[in-house]
């Protein structure tokens, strides 16, 4: 018998085992899963009720929409940034990201959900006619309207739609070979869906070649669009609403926060998949440590960006700058700011330098929970504070300075609590439902690594050798 065939047979067995295990897990319909789905659906319905309650109050009073805008920004910062965990290490050809890259890409589907949540904000944000400062050189004098009064609305919507579209394309392309596997080997409704989604995929060399190129190009475009969406959202839907808040670093701070929160989201998702999803054999220390290092670096970056902005205002001490510091940091939202500072910077810094925590499986996810809560509080601090500034949408109120007195803290109403609970649950619900159509672990990339992986005796131990195709 040809010795090559014997080796090929054992490799085939390994690949088949991966196929069968992951496919069986993907198609399994546990009660546990559907119970969680039902619970999330109930919370989501509460969110819809909260939204209807909010709608009854109309769009004129901007302050009541602060928590809503914060929720939109929170989902943009966490779920819509999570695909970056798949994109960046894939471009760097890192092997450790293989088991988690699909999970990260599935989060891009939540972008579609967030796009729907974005629609009411278009009504909340007034047109440029209220004479606020903006990126858009618009003047109210007759004959001087150089740009449409709804320019922020138009361009941000276009950018957000593009981001969501690229994210979904990226997910679909990356899932094509796995959908073909479900088409060929799966059963039930999932097979029918997979058949529709993977129609033309047969695995020719050309198709594989193009798949790699497309994933690279779409990944780069997703990153570029994500940064741009954060730029527009942080300027047009946040910064310009606060008179005197002039901060060139805010857009990149907003985007860097998203990278940090995206990594934290993935860390937590990974932990849940390992602990409750039955993927213990696929998600291990490599992934926790790989993401842990990124989380640590991004937490340091959080401080760097925050201090760079804060320093300008604090050192400048002009009346406007002091008012902005009061509004966002030391005034009505001081307690929230302390929470953000501790959870996004101090906690990750001091926990991650402590070896027993850094090297454990539960430590980095625990820090990730802190970062997600910190990001949530940060979005509330910024957006609720910005939307509580009096005079938004009113051309008769001066947009050059904040009121000299401290503004009151705007506490959430019952509808806000429903919206917060409902929209977070809605995001997780969309993610979990998507995992029923697309396998949460990238099956083809798991099988691919079998080709490049050998175990070799090295003196008195055995080492794993991994090849990297160019």
């Amino acid at each position: 018998m040809n010795p090559h065939v014997i080796t090929a047979k054992s490799t085939l067995d390994k690949k088949s085992k991966i196929n069968n295990t992951l496919l069986e897990r993907h198609q399994r319909n546990g009660n546990y899963f559907w119970r969680i789905i039902s619970l999330l659906a109930v919370f989501f319905i509460l969110g819809i009720i909260g939204f209807v309650m909010k709608l009854n109050s109309g769009f004129n009073d901007k302050v009541i929409w602060g928590y809503y805008a914060a929720m939109f920004a929170f989902i943009l910062t966490t779920a819509q940034a999570a695909p970056m965990v798949a994109i960046a290490p894939r471009l760097a050809k890192a092997h450790w990201r293989r088991p988690i890259s699909r999970t990260a890409e599935i989060w891009s589907i939540v972008g579609l959900f967030n796009l729907i949540l974005f629609i009411p904000i278009l009504w909340v944000l007034p047109s440029l006619e209220d004479r606020r400062r903006s990126l858009w050189f618009w003047d109210a004098a007759p004959g001087f309207e150089s740009v449409p009064v709804f320019s922020p609305h138009i361009w941000t919507t276009l950018a957000l739609c593009s981001l969501v579209f690229i994210g979904i394309m990226l997910l679909w392309l990356s899932a094509l070979p796995d959908l073909a596997l479900i088409r060929d080997k799966g059963t039930g409704w999932q097979q029918k869906v997979a058949k529709k989604l993977s129609k033309n995929w047969i695995g020719t060399s050309k198709q594989w070649h193009w798949l790699y190129h497309r994933l690279g190009i779409l990944g780069a475009l997703y990153f570029a669009m994500m940064v741009f969406v954060h730029f527009l959202i942080s300027i047009d839907f946040l910064l310009v609403l606060v008179p005197g808040w002039i901060d060139a670093l805010l857009p990149i701070t907003h985007a860097a926060n998203a990278l940090q929160a995206g990594v934290a989201t993935m860390m937590l998702t990974m932990f849940c998949l390992r602990k409750f999803g039955g993927y213990k054999d696929y998600i291990g220390y490599d992934q926790v440590w790989g993401l842990g290092k990124l989380l640590f670096a991004l937490s340091l970056l959080w401080f760097w960006f925050w201090f760079s902005s804060f320093n300008v205002f604090w050192y400048g001490k002009k009346p406007n700058e002091l008012s902005v510091i009061d509004l966002l940091t030391t005034g009505p939202y001081l307690i929230i700011f302390i929470g953000v500072f501790l959870l996004n910077f101090v906690f990750p810094l001091f926990m991650m330098i402590w070896n027993p925590i850094r090297r454990s499986f539960w430590g980095p996810p625990l820090i990730a929970v802190g970062v997600i809560i910190g990001t949530f509080l940060d979005r509330i601090r910024l957006y609720v504070a910005a939307y509580s500034v009096p005079g938004i949408g009113d051309p008769n109120v001066s947009k050059h300075a904040l009121p000299t007195h401290s503004l009151p803290t705007h506490l959430p109403e019952i509808s806000d609590v429903f919206i917060m609970l409902g929209y977070i649950s809605g995001s997780i619900l969309v993610f979990m439902l998507a995992t029923k159509i697309i396998p949460v672990i990238n099956i083809w990339e798991q099988r691919e690594v079998v080709m490049y992986e050998i175990h070799k005796k090295f003196h008195r131990t055995e080492v794993k050798i991994l090849g990297k195709p160019d």
């Binding site: 065939v5 060399s205 050309k206 190009i217 475009l221």
Partner: protein
């Protein structure tokens, strides 16, 4: 009329040998293909490296988008030249935002069109296929005219294909 057959192999070397023999027998490059459930490194089976021109699409789209963005912004301002406070007629900072977004939008739209064109989607004639490909078998398909299909089948059999399947049966 075109006919298609697929030979299934367990060993990569045998699949590569099959391709060599098909080439020697005078089959053209577009008449045979390797099907795999995994992305093997280019050239594993001795096949020619696929050439693509996908990178041209986003570049072309970006240029078109940039020009569109420039024309919208500069064109509007030049058409209605209103000098405000002695400032130049063309305000570059707001123009740059729209030009950037136009560039990105052009690049994205053209990339999507490019992906469809370069993939030759939809593939009208699928050829022979076997679901064992997704299990890890390597398939060598030959899609050619009716008179040449028998010889191809013979080549695949001689090399040691585990199974041969005719696409038309």
């Amino acid at each position: 009329m075109k006919r298609s057959i697929i030979g299934l192999f367990l060993d990569e070397n045998l699949a590569a040998d099959a391709l060599d023999d098909l080439r020697k027998a005078g089959y053209e490059m577009d008449e045979y293909e390797v099907l795999t459930g995994l992305p093997y490194p280019e050239g594993t089976f001795g096949e020619d490296e696929p050439k693509h021109k996908l990178y041209r699409w986003p570049l072309f789209g970006a240029v078109c988008g940039f020009i569109m963005g420039f024309m919208i912004t500069a064109g509007t301002q030049v058409a209605y030249p209103l000098v405000t406070g002695g400032k130049p007629v063309l305000g570059v900072p707001p123009m740059a935002i729209i030009m950037y977004e136009g560039t990105m939008l052009g690049a994205i739209i053209f990339t999507i069109i490019g992906v469809v064109f370069e993939s030759r989607l939809p593939r009208i004639f699928m050829g022979a296929y076997d679901t064992r490909i997704t299990e890890g078998y390597i398939g060598v398909t030959v899609t050619t005219s009716e008179d040449k299909i028998e010889e191809a089948e013979k080549i695949l059999k001689n090399i040691g294909a585990e199974d041969i399947k005719r696409g038309w049966e």
